[in-house]
């Protein structure tokens, strides 16, 4: 092969290798990161109890959620506004950035008395089949271990009550749970 042909080939390979995360954290506008941090926290600990931890969350999960907010599949007044002007590359870069941060400890302790109730509910739903042992997620499946209890409870309720519509299977499953079971599962998972 002619040496001059290598340069574009290597360039193409580098492009392919870096896909799909074509934008880097450095290219994310500072004001966008600042906007994220205003709710999700400067150091990864959110500013309110029902806002999810993003630091250390799965790349593909975050990216899909941003896409779904933009497509209206997941309704949230704040997030719909935030993602309105984001392009695909910036959403991927944001997902990459947050997935590469260390998961923060929020120091939550779940009440021991309801661990049995929570475990029975999680077993009934076969939750580890997707969220895996330890509930740490993988790729398109989010980490739940150590997530904020209030956020977990709110989002499970939103699945149950068909407010959150971007995972129909989760909606069907959570519709079969009582509010007490959902609260117990949220607290147990937050305490892991």
């Amino acid at each position: 092969m002619n040496r001059s042909l290598w340069a574009p080939l290597i360039g193409a390979l580098l492009f392919v290798c870096s896909s799909p995360n074509t934008a880097t954290a450095a290219e994310i506008p500072a004001e966008t990161l600042a906007l994220c941090a205003s709710c999700h926290g400067e150091a990864g600990v959110p500013t309110a109890a029902d806002i999810p931890i993003l630091w250390g969350q799965e790349f593909y999960y975050i990216y899909v959620q941003l896409k779904d907010y933009k497509a209206g599949l997941r309704a949230n007044e704040t997030m719909s506004g935030v993602v309105a002007d984001l392009d695909k590359e910036t959403m991927q870069a944001l997902a990459q950035h947050f997935s590469e941060q260390p998961w923060p400890s929020i120091g939550y302790t779940a009440p021991a008395y309801e661990a049995g109730k929570a475990l029975a509910a999680l077993s009934a739903g076969q939750c580890v089949q997707c969220h895996l042992g330890g509930y740490e997620g993988n790729s398109r499946i989010p980490r739940m271990a150590g997530q904020q209890a209030d956020y977990l409870e709110r989002t499970m309720q939103e699945f149950k009550n068909k407010i959150r519509l971007n995972s129909a299977a989760k909606g069907s499953l959570l519709a079969s749970y009582s509010d007490d079971d959902i609260a117990a599962m949220a607290r147990y998972l937050a305490g892991l």
Binding site: G125, Q129, G133, N138, S167, A168, G171, S172, L173
Partner: protein, 571 residues
């Protein structure tokens, strides 16, 4: 000066000259490594693969041989001495997560895999690691039931592995280095690989997962040397409607609303593009017929039949295709228009069986999630008989409801994906089973483009008892010969040996040897994590070994671990 002092320099000079003379040969020997007078025994020839059923040294196929009998022909470990079976070595992998690997052994080298698509080569006599291949996983994976991997295929000087991000990779068997890699399908749309490939006649065969994500299933054949795609058999034909079957393979009414289905078909057309039909496990290969036999999984979405009219061919079916072309030969559908995910997953076994007239014919066995062993004629896939149910069946086939309808088996039911084993001398097939009661919930939703698409939910009933069993079935009569109940639902696999034994493990860490004739438990070992993988056997330096992975299971949430444990008889 003594005689010795005179002779020593002379001997040294002669030895030196001999060493110099031998140097080229030494170098050559080192390059070959495992070379012998009879050739390189670590090169897996087609002849070796063909003769695997009678090979007492190696374990060359995921299910033992092309017939997938998982019957190991060595009898050094047998009913009279199995009580002396002890761990020879334990190897711990880097990944502590669900293990479903079938160890493959070639001339004293063992190949095993772990969750997240790692592969290892080990010294089968010592457990010492030779190499470790850690797949560079893409950022998008979509899979059901755990990040499992069920093992490798071996062919020539290569090892083949399917990956969670839906690739087929070929590795150099000596070094573990990547030789080639092919993207089989798009993981963003729900495709992934957890099955071991099958190597035959220069081809690497592999199916796909994804029946929970609205894929269109397939079996593909790749060129073993180059990775070029040779053929694809789509498990869902463009006309998937079928014959509007109203009863299942056992004659029970499935309560289909055929008129309503026909209305949907007329309005929306054939749903074949997103109808599921994954192939989770290896095909059996009949070299004489030049055909393969595999089973096809559930339709998508699992629980909602309202938006997928017709029989949903070839879901929940035994299918046979031509090995060279992938052309359809025959099929038999167990459950048309399945809305319970009681699909066909356990790999088929080829044995000779008695037909309805008592005449021996080439047969095929399949263990269903329904709890039946189905016995087929290999020529046309037709059903000869089905066994007594190995697990409780209740309320079949009640349709799923919005609030959940209870029916047994639950969707993790019967034989599940676990491979069975046979002992042709006794005419028995051995299966491990699950009893896990569930409710079936239906809720319609449109195709979600790669997201989980169940059309409802499966829910385990926490107040009801769960258990498992090991069952021996006479495949010439369909009668249960013996059955042993276990404390937990069973998943993983089983192996029979010429020593009159069957080996299988449990979620609580127990690994057991049963008398294959009676079901007596002859030996147990506590592995410390769930033994939910199929065992293998092999012989090195005159010692027979039994080997199994103890890594627990995601699907049933059994205690995770990362051990490969090899056993041999105590001296």
């Amino acid at each position: 000066m003594s005689f010795h002092s005179l002779i020593r320099p002379a001997l040294a000079a002669v030895a030196g000259a001999m060493l110099i003379a031998l140097l080229p040969f030494t170098a050559q020997t080192q390059e070959v490594g495992s070379g012998t007078l009879y050739g390189d025994m670590r090169t897996v020839t087609q002849d070796l693969l063909n003769r695997a059923a009678g090979d007492g040294n190696n374990f060359l196929h995921t299910n033992g041989n092309y017939q997938q009998t998982r019957y190991y022909p060595s009898r050094q470990i047998n009913t009279s001495n199995v009580g002396k079976l002890r761990p020879a070595w334990i190897f711990q992998t880097e990944v502590v997560e669900s293990m479903e690997t079938s160890p493959i052994i070639v001339d004293g080298i063992m190949y095993v895999t772990t969750s997240f698509s790692h592969a290892y080569a080990l010294n089968a006599a010592t457990g010492q690691q030779i190499w470790h291949y850690k797949h560079k996983m893409g950022p998008i994976t979509t899979y059901c039931c755990g990040p499992n991997n069920r093992g490798v295929a071996v062919h020539g000087d290569m090892v083949y592995l399917g990956t969670l991000d839906a690739k087929l990779v070929a590795l150099d068997a000596k070094t573990g280095k990547l030789v080639w890699e092919k993207q089989i399908a798009d993981p963003e749309l729900g495709y992934s690989e957890t099955m071991a490939p099958t190597a035959v006649n220069g081809k690497i065969l592999i199916g796909t997962n994804g029946g929970e994500y609205g894929i269109r299933g397939f079996v593909k054949a790749y060129d073993a040397k180059t990775g070029d795609l040779l053929w694809t058999f789509d498990t869902i034909p463009e006309n998937s409607v079928g014959v509007w079957a109203t009863h299942d393979a056992t004659g029970r009414d499935m309560l289909r609303d055929i008129a309503a289905e026909k209305t949907v078909l007329a309005a929306k057309g054939d749903p074949y593009k997103t109808l599921g039909g994954g192939v989770w496990q290896n095909p059996a290969v009949d070299l004489a017929m030049n055909r393969i036999f595999f089973v096809v999984g559930n339709p998508s979405p699992d629980l909602d039949g309202g938006i997928r009219p017709g029989d949903n061919l070839y879901t929940d079916s035994l299918v046979s295709v031509d090995l060279d072309t992938g052309k359809y030969a025959c099929h038999f559908q167990y459950i048309a228009h399945d809305v319970w995910d009681l699909d066909a997953v356990s790999p088929p076994i080829l044995v000779d069986v008695k037909d309805k007239d008592g005449k021996m014919v080439p047969g095929v066995l399949h263990g269903g999630k329904t709890g039946h062993v189905y016995v087929h004629n290999r020529n046309d896939c037709s059903l000869i008989r089905y066994s007594e149910a190995m697990v409780p069946q209740e309320n079949m086939w009640v349709l799923p409801t919005a609030n959940g309808a209870r029916m047994l088996p639950g969707a993790n039911g019967g034989v599940e994906w676990s491979p069975m084993t046979t002992d042709a001398n006794q005419g028995l097939v051995y299966a491990i089973n699950l009893h896990q009661p569930m409710t079936y919930h239906v809720e319609s939703s449109p195709y979600p483009e790669g997201k989980l698409w169940l059309g409802g939910a499966f829910k385990v009933i926490p107040t009801e008892e769960q258990w498992g069993n090991v069952t021996a079935v006479d495949y010439n009569t369909g009668k249960i010969r013996w059955q042993v109940k276990t404390a937990q639902p069973m998943i993983g696999g089983i192996m029979a040996t010429a020593g009159g034994l069957v080996f299988t493990g449990e979620g609580n860490g127990m690994f057991k040897a049963y008398d294959s004739e009676t079901g007596s438990v002859l030996w147990t070992f506590q592995a410390g994590a769930g033994v939910n993988a199929p065992p293998s056997s092999y012989t090195v330096d005159g010692k027979q070994y039994i080997v199994v992975a103890a890594g627990g299971n995601t699907q049933l949430n059994y205690k995770r671990g990362n051990n490969i444990i090899a056993f041999t008889l105590a001296d």
